[in-house]
Amino acid sequence: MSKVPVTIDGKTIEVPYDTTVLDAAKKLGIHIPTLCHNENVKPYGVCRICLVEMHQGKREKLVPACVFPLRKETEILTNSEKVQRVRRWIIQLMLARSPEEQVILDLAEKYGVETHARFAPHWKEESGERYRDESSCILCGQCVRVCEEIVGASAIAFEGRGSKRRVVSPFNAENDMCVACGACAFVCPTNCIGFVDHGATRELKRWRKKTKMIACKTCGDYFLPESLAKVYAEKMNISEDVYSVCPDCRASVFK
C-alpha cells in the first residue's frame, strides 16, 4: 500500500495509506488525549477529546484523531490555540455530566479548566436518581463495543436519544446474553459498571446481573461465573476438568 507523508506538530513521518492520525502520532511519540478509544475495537470517534487541527492545502478543520484516515499529505496540529479552546469547552461539558469523575477532573487539570463546573450537573436538573447513578458514565461506548466485537455477546447497548442516552441491558433487566465475563468493567475508563465479586456470587450492578461463581477444583477459590462456564462447555467444547481449574493452578495441574 502506498505511503503518505504527515507532519504532526512539526515532526514529519510517512505512514501507510489510511493510517489514523492517532496511530501516526503514537509513532512520533506525540500524545493526544482520548477517552472513547480502545485499540482492540473499531474506532468510534464520539468523545471528541482527541480533536486536532487538520490542514490539507487550503482545507482546514478540526477532526477526531482516532478516526481520521490519512490519505494524502497532511499537516496536523495537536495543540493549537483552536484545539485547546474547543477541547476546554468539551471538558467543561463533560464536567457538567460527571462533576465528580476523577478521569474528567484529571483532564480538566491538565488542560487548565477550572474544576468547579460552569454548568450545573445533570442530576441536579433532572433531580432523578438515575442521572446521579449514571453521572460517572461518559457514554464512551467501550463496554458496548467490547461486548459486541470481542465477547460476541451483545448483551448491552445504547438506549434513548440526546441527553437521555444511556447504556443498558435489554429492558434494563437481567439478561441471559450477559455471561458476566466482566470485560465491560475492565475497559470502562470511569469504573462505573459496579462490578463486584462477593465470593460465591458476581454482580454487575449496571446490568442488573448476578451470577453464581464456580470454585477452582484445586485451590477452592471462586474464579469463574457459571454463565461463562456454560459458554466454555457448550460453545467451545472445553471439558469441565480444564475450565474448572483457575488460571493460578493450571500451571501445576496441566504439566
Binding site: 470517534g45 471528541r48 477529546i49 468539551i90 463533560m94 454548568f119 457514554l139 436519544r161 440526546g162
Partner: protein
Amino acid sequence: MAEKLTSRQMLLDLAEELAGKRKQVKQTITLCAGTGCRASSCMDVHQALVEGVKKRSWGDKVEIRTSGCHGLCELGPLMVVQPGNVFYKGVKPEDADAVLDETVGKEEKVEKLLYEDSVSGDKIVHWHDIPFYKKQKRLVFGANGEINPNIIEDYLAVGGYQALAKALGDMQPDEIVEQVKISGLRGRGGGGFSTGIKWESCKKAKGDVKYILCNADEGDPGAFMDRSILEGNPHVVIEGMIIAALAIGGTDGYVYVRNEYPLAVKNLAIALDQARDYGLLGENILGSGFNFEIKINRGGGAFVCGESTALMASIEGRPGEPRAKFVHTVEKGLWDKPTNLNNVETYANVPWIVTNGGDEYAKIGTEGSKGTKIFSLVGKVHNSGLIEVPMGITLREIVYDIGGGIPGGKKFKAVQTGGPAGGCLPEDKLDLPVDFDNLWEAGTIMGSGGLIVMDEDNCMVDVAKYFTKFLMDESCGKCTPCREGLRQLYNILVDISEGRGKEGDIEVLEGLSEAIETGSICGLGQAAPIPLKSTIRYFRDEYEAHIKDKKCPAKVCKELITYKITDNCNGCGLCPRVCPADAITGAKKELHVIDQSKCIKCGACYEACKFDAISKG
C-alpha cells in the same frame, strides 16, 4: 394489467395516444388533493362534484380530476376549471352545484370563490394572474397540479418517462453525468453539494453492487416540499432515480420516507407498481436490458435519520446514528457499498435536465446556484404554502409579492431560512438574492427549503430557544458536543428568557457554539448553533434587553412581562371571570387589581378586556 413497454417507440406512441385522449375532454375541474386540501375536506367537495355530474348526466361533458398539491395550501380546497384557467379557493361541498351550473354550464364565474388580492382587494380569475403564482417558476412542481398521482397514464400523457427513454436510447452514462454537471444542480436536501460531482464519484467507485437512495425523511418542522412531490407526482422522483442508476451503474434503490407521510408512502407504492407493470422499472427496462429495482423503506420519525450515514444505518436495521464519513458514502455507504444519496427534490429535477439539457437548466438561477428551489413559505404571511422560485429571487419578492406580506398590519422582523438549524435574517437582508452562497455568507443556510416569516410579535431569544430545544431533543446523543452542548445552550437561553441572564452569557453562548459546530460528528450538531448565532448577530439588542434590563421587547417571554390594570378600567367584571388563576379582584364598577404573586401571565385578561384597560409590558 398494462402491456409492458419494450421500446422507446412504444412509450412515445402510448404517450401520444394518451395526450390525444386528454385533449378530447373539453371541460375539466382539477381539484387539489394534497394533504393540505384534504385537511380542509377537499374529498367531500370531490364527492359532491362527482354526484353533481351524475345527477346532470354530464359524464361526457366534464371530467373531475384530482391532483397533487397546488401550493396555496392556506386557501384550500383549491380547484382549477378548464377551459379558462378559472381558479377557485376555499370551495365547500355545497358550492359544487354553483361551480357546475355557472362555470361548467354557462362559463360564468362564481364570484365568492374567486381569489381576492390581499393588497388591492381585487378579484382575480386566472390562476396564473394570482401574485402567489405569478413570480413562481414551476419547473419541478408544475405537473403536480395537472396529473393524478395514482394514474401513471396521466404522467405519461404529459411526457413522463421520456427523459428516461432518451437517457437509455441516446446517452452514454458519462454523458448523463456530464449533463447533470453542466446543469449546476446542487443537492436540494440542504448540503448543496454538486449532484453531478457526487454522481461522478459514485460512478468511479469500485463495486459490483451500488445503491441509489432517495432521502424523503423530511424532518424540518413546517417543511413539506418533498412530501408534496411524492404525494403529487411520485413518478418524477422514480424517473430521476432510474436515470441516476443508469448514469452511476446503480443496481438497487431505496426511498427512505417518513412513516408520518402516509399519503406519500401510499402514492409512491402505487406508482412503483404501475411503473413495474409498464416495464419502466425492474428487469429489462424499456427493453434495454438495464435492470433496476426500487424499494420503500419507512423511517421511524427520528430527525437525525435525514443525515446520510444515520439514514443508511437505519436502512441496515441499526439505530439511526451518524458516523464519521471521512471515507465518503459514495465509496462506502449502505452496507459498505458505493452509495448515491440524493433528496426527493434533487431527483425530481433530473428528468427536466435530461430532456432539456444541462445548458438550458444552467440558464436559470445565479452564478453558483442553478435552477429553481421549492420553499415552504409559512409563518406571518398572508399566503402560506409551497412555492417554486428561480434561484436568485430576493427574499422581499418571496415575502411580499408571493407571500402577500405580513397580516394584521404588523411589522416584518425576520425570516428564518433552512429549517430548525437555519438562521434568521433581518429586514436589511430582504433584498438578498436567495442562493446557497448568499445565504451562507449572511449566516444562514438554504437547508431543505423552509421559510418562516416572523413579525414584531416574535421574540428572537424565544425563537433561538425554541429551535435549540428542537435540536437538543432530536440529537442522537452519540457525540459529546452535540449531546451535552445543546443542552447547555438551551439551559442558558432558558435562563436569559426567564430573567436569570447574566453579563457574559452571550460570550459563553458564542464559545460553546464554536465547540459544537466544529466538534460534532454530523450536520445536525454542526449546524445546530446557527439559529442562536444568527439571532445574536442580527438581534443582539434583544438579548441585551433580556439580560441587562430584564425586559422582553417583543413581550413574549412570560417571566419578563407584567400585566397591569390601568385607569381605563370601569370595573365591568369580565377579567376576574376569565382569569384561570383567580388573580384579579375588585368591586363592581371599580378599578380592578391583579395580584402579581398569583398571576400566571396567560394573557387571558388582556385578550378579554374590551376597554383597553390592561397593559402588558
